[in-house]
Amino acid sequence: MTELPQVDIDEVRRVMEDYAERGWTDGLPVMPVTESVLDEFLALTDLPPEEVLLAMPHLDRACTVRTAAINAAMAGCLPEYFPVVLAAWRALDLEGYVGRAIWQSTTGTAPMLLVNGPVRERIGLNSQGNVFGSGFRANATIGRAIRLTAINAFGLRPHELDQATQGNPAKYTACIAENEEQSAWPAFHVEHGFDAHASTVTAMTMRSVVHIEARHTTVPEQLALDLADTIRRTGALIHETISACVALGPEHAELFAGAGWSKDDLRRFVFEHALNLRATLAAVGKDAVSGQTRWRLSSAHADAVPDSVADQDQVKVLGSEQALQIVVAGAHNSGVSAVIETFGPRGGPPAIAPVEPAAAPASA
């Protein structure tokens, strides 16, 4: 029989129940945190504990390095994950939507983190099978660290300051790594100017992950049209245009790369083909935009003004090629991919922050 450490489980349980009663949780049990645990996390960064990582001025609240560390520990992170958590906060700050109250919105978005570079292997981040699913401590707890901070540092509890109509499952945790090893294309961070030996975290604001089955084809145009059709769905349209991140399974990425398509070739093709006929938009009452909010509505509505391509019968859903990001993730075992429906900058560069471990580890 395995020898387990001897502890007074009643004491541990009492502490965990106390945390739950105080509302310091996403509903699942959280790890108790002591000053000594906190010190282990803070030792792995050169940043001062009081440095602000992200502020929400409308709430007059901020997340500091210290509060990020406390919540990372509560989420079940190992101390060595903390530099990734810090990079995630940098990236979320850079992304811009979070500081402007998007986590309180009825839309119910969640942060989606993408990790690139050697840190993936160092801390055991999953980039392969079940990449959006459970089973990997680093993925599970890094994403959860962000959510617990939203609850505990910013007070964004459901039914209070979090007004999400339905939310989405990623509000527990959402952190994936790119499967760089099984991608023929440059890694996501390299594509955006980082060194291949650097590790980075990219932050997105996501609404949903839409599953794509395409096991039937070896024709790149067919597969790209399947992706484009998923992206253009009218239900995704609240604003005039949208943004998205395609998470290609390695098999699909290989299909494109093998046919000589670069990431930019795929991006261009999807940009051109992710469109709705104006009649399709009219049928769902989204063929114009509001003169006040620029949200889509029917051309029969009192506030309706023409959208910006009113002279065209084919209405693209992506405002620019840059509104589409492409990453490779998952197992190399079937023709499955996903579209991460994002919410936020519809063009421009993605929000990527480097992972910066402490210059001199405390143990050195």
């Binding site: 709430l59 309180q104 007070g155 009192a302």
Partner: protein
């Protein structure tokens, strides 16, 4: 914010947002801040229904602005 600057103000929200509105008022140190509430939803109403909601809300708006009990 306007009230702090000395400008009488009244906030109107639909009944679906009362809990969040109270929570925000608490964040701003005004837990007893009074809201005018109107029925949810708004976004899908036609102009006639919006008008009707406004007419029903006006007495409360006037009452809060003028401070009459």
């Amino acid at each position: 914010m306007l009230e702090r600057a000395g400008v009488p103000a009244v906030s109107i929200c639909t009944d679906a947002f009362v809990v969040s509105a109270r929570a925000m008022a608490g964040v701003y140190g005004m837990p007893d801040f009074e809201f005018v509430t109107i029925p949810h939803p708004i976004a899908s109403l036609d102009p006639g229904a919006i008008d009707a909601n406004v007419r029903r809300a006006i007495p409360d708006v006037v009452r809060i602005l003028t401070g009459t009990p």
